[in-house]
Amino acid sequence: MTMTDNKIGGSTEELVVEAGEAQRNRRPSRMNRVGDHLRREWQLYLLLLPTILWLLIFLYKPMYGLQIAFKDYSVFRGVAGSPWVGLEHFYTLFENDQFIRALRNTIYISLLGLVFGFPMPIILALMFNEVVNQLFKKTAQTIVYLPHFISSVIIAGIVITAFSPSAGIVNTVMGWFGLNPIYFLTKAEWFRPIFVGTGIWQEAGFQSIVYLAAIAGISPTLYESAVVDGATRFQMMWKITLPMILPTIIIMLIIRIGNMLEVSFEMIILLYQPATYETADVVNTFIYRQGIQGGQYDLAAAAGLFNAFVAFVLVMTANTISKRYSRTSLW
């Protein structure tokens, strides 16, 4: 609307005024229309209500508390009663080398997770789609979904055991080839591969469900005509399946970028050591140590707010790029 108005420019001022007047005159009838609409579709709005309430209570109301990032917060004085300190907490953060390091690690680990973790479920889904033997397919799917349902604490336990220098399977296998055991979980250079790998192992199977669903939605006629044209299975995958699920892939990518900085920090806390902070400490673990354990809620809120701000910029950028180049976007 506004775009067109601008293009037409001042020459149609009269028209605009007239339109405005017309709108004012129509107002009662418009109200009626809204009323009618609500009466007709109230069931749908009722269904929507719980979600809206959930959003308001759990996502919008807490935003009120975000102001403590700019306050010298005391639990007893309360959010409203604590004095303002402006950007002091942000200065404190950016003067802290460990925060900068945590920010760098967050972005680095997230990028690694994106580059290696994002394509995995797609590849898995494509592979499952090509499997002919149903029994094998179902069994394999169950096995790859399974880690998703195991608690992070147990996953971390499995990882620690697997990489143990004395009893771990990894070092045992390395031993067969005459390699010396490595104490992986205390080596900063090994933390990222282990963490990202664990994430893929835990989630790739479950995430492939979305793509399997998208593949199931592809019209079989496309494949039938491709068979008639003599296409190979690989060609069909490359030329039909992938392009057809591309919108899903893009949407998932944007969502993923939005959540990118939400590194699963509970897993990091379970796996990291002071010796691996260098590569493992992320913003959320920094917040946990500094804020929650140290009781500095205001500083933690500032760090969290900054993290959210970066995530917001990331998702907006991804959305814009995607809109421009692939015509697929979240909004």
């Binding site: 005391s74 979980l185 205390t186 010796a275 140290g294």
Partner: protein, 526 residues
């Protein structure tokens, strides 16, 4: 109405209890007269009590019922944050919600109480105790340093702490049967200790033909840092790991910024490289002791008396000849035997009076009740006649309590004794169910002069707190990072030391030490 009915109920129970007591011909029950009554009319006080075993206060605890009969005061549970096991979180929730119960207690209340007390959330107890609580006052008069320790920066104190009794907590333990097998003696100094660990590593004491023994291990990797005491350095000043300590000339410093620490750590790094310390010390975690002992792999550790001695009974059939014995701390390079860990005389747990309490005098009298002989026995051993009897002037647990399948402490928690109220622990409670091996070890330790003074913490004012909050978490992180790197060999402490100290200074170490010392002087130098 209800009050009346409750009173009747109380009376009925009271008569019943007297009858039982009379028929079993015991000493007169302590609550047979009214000398402990605080109020004539029953008074109900609400309480927040968040502690590790139960997130709340059970109004049906036998101990609570007995205390009611003796004092006339009822406690009604009003604990916040029951769905969390984190007591700090529950406390913050309680304070944030604004409506506070009369009594606020539980685990780790010291920091919040000292922070929010001066802001007005809790009542200062100095005058209340001096006027109305003679037994608590007597305790402070006998232990003035403990009163200083809990005092907030404004000079008042705001909570009555849980005061543990007994001295030794952790001790050195060695596989005596391995020593015997290898023809060795218990190590008396650092060099002998090194030889023993080397022998454990190379001598195949578990006899399986493989070199899989783990000479020194620990459930908590911090215990490895405690080995620095063998080279006259320190790892902590309190029963918390990595804490500050007070030097001989009365200055608060951090152990990880001292020269002695550098030399000691380089030795520990050597021992680690030689395979004398568990290679997986940082990731094995809390099951290390269970696993390494039951698999017949672990040789030596530093851990709690009672639970570590317990393995002798537990593994008697599983590991042939298993004999895990406490031994004296080996003498350091300068010949000092030091047991750095001891039970703290003061816990950050206990209870406080909130600003919304309308009966502060009755409440402090009630707090004082737990420091009377009757109250102390009740809080330590449970209800007389039910879990214990007075025999020759000593409270002695009944045989069915001592011989139960359940540990005695669990049984006590269930009746409402030994819970996180402000009370003074009686070591006779624990001694009665400490097994013979541990008792011998404790006697051995007590016969020697091993203890070092404890740093009981300081209370910061707002300014000091903000300096500490700003610098300390990062400093702490950096210290632990370097510490692990040095042990694991990815850094060389001798080469790194100067830049390490410079970095600490850059990160605000001297500012932290400054506020530590200003708070310390205000609090302890009277």
């Amino acid at each position: 109405m209800t009050v009346l009915r409750k009173r009747e109920e109380t009376m009925r129970k009271f008569t019943l209890a007297s009858v039982i007591m009379a028929t079993t011909a015991l000493t007169t029950p302590a609550f047979a007269d009214d000398h402990l009554k605080i109020v004539d009319e029953p008074l109900e006080l609400t309480i927040h009590l968040h502690w590790p075993r139960q997130q709340g206060y059970n109004e049906n605890f036998p101990v609570e019922k007995a205390a009611r009969e003796m004092t006339g005061i009822y406690l009604k549970d009003a604990t916040a944050g029951r769905n969390s096991t984190d007591s700090m979180e529950a406390m913050n929730l309680l304070i944030a919600q604004g409506n506070m119960p009369d009594i606020v207690g539980g685990h780790r209340i010291r920091q919040p109480v000292n922070q929010y007390g001066p802001e007005g959330a809790f009542l200062p107890l100095n005058d209340l105790v001096a006027e109305h609580a003679p037994h608590i006052q007597a305790f402070w008069d006998a232990h003035p340093e403990l009163q200083q320790a809990i005092t907030a920066y404004d000079g008042n104190y705001y909570y009555i702490p849980y005061l543990p009794d007994g001295m030794f907590g952790r001790a050195w333990y060695v596989r005596q049967d391995w020593l015997d097998k290898l023809g060795l003696e218990q190590p008396q100094n650092v060099d002998e200790l090194h030889d023993v660990l080397v022998a454990f590593r190379d001598g195949d004491p578990n006899g399986n033909g493989r070199k899989d023994e783990v000479p020194f291990f620990a459930r908590e990797w911090e215990e490895v840092i405690r080995l620095v005491t063998l080279w006259d350095a320190r790892s902590t000043g309190s029963d918390t790991f990595h804490d500050f300590y007070v030097t001989d000339d009365g200055k608060v410093v951090h152990p990880y910024a001292q020269d002695g620490y550098r030399d000691a750590m380089s030795h520990i790094a050597e021992w680690y490289a030689e395979g004398l310390i568990d290679a997986e010390i940082f990731t094995r975690g809390s099951s290390a002791r269970d696993y390494l002992l039951s698999e017949n792999l672990g040789g030596m550790t530093h851990d709690w008396f009672a639970s570590t001695s317990g393995y002798n009974a537990a593994l008697k059939d599983k590991v042939e000849g298993f004999d895990f014995k406490p031994f004296l701390p080996p003498a350091s390079v300068s010949g000092v035997r030091m047991e750095e860990h001891r039970r703290t005389p003061l816990k950050p747990d206990g209870w406080a009076i909130s600003y919304m309490n309308e009966h502060p005098v009755e409440t402090i009298k009630y707090f004082d009740f737990w420091f009377t002989e009757e109250g102390r026995n009740l809080s330590n051993f449970g209800v007389e006649g039910e879990t214990w009897d007075m025999i020759d002037g000593e409270p002695i647990f009944k045989p069915e309590v001592l011989n139960s399948d359940k540990p005695v402490n669990t049984q006590m928690y269930e009746v409402g004794a030994q819970i996180y109220r402000g009370y003074w622990m009686d070591y006779r409670y624990e001694w009665q169910w400490t097994d013979e091996d541990a008792r011998e070890g404790i006697k051995l330790y007590e016969a020697n002069d091993l203890l070092v003074d404890q740093f009981l913490g300081v209370s910061f004012n707002e300014e000091e707190q903000s300096v500490y909050d700003k610098y300390w978490p990062s400093l702490y992180t950096y210290m632990l990072e370097r510490q692990q790197a040095w042990i694991l060999g990815s850094g060389d402490i001798e080469a790194d030391w100067d830049s390490y100290i410079q970095t600490l200074d850059k990160m605000g170490y001297s500012q932290v030490i400054e506020v530590m010392n200003s708070a310390y002087q205000r609090q302890y130098d009277e």
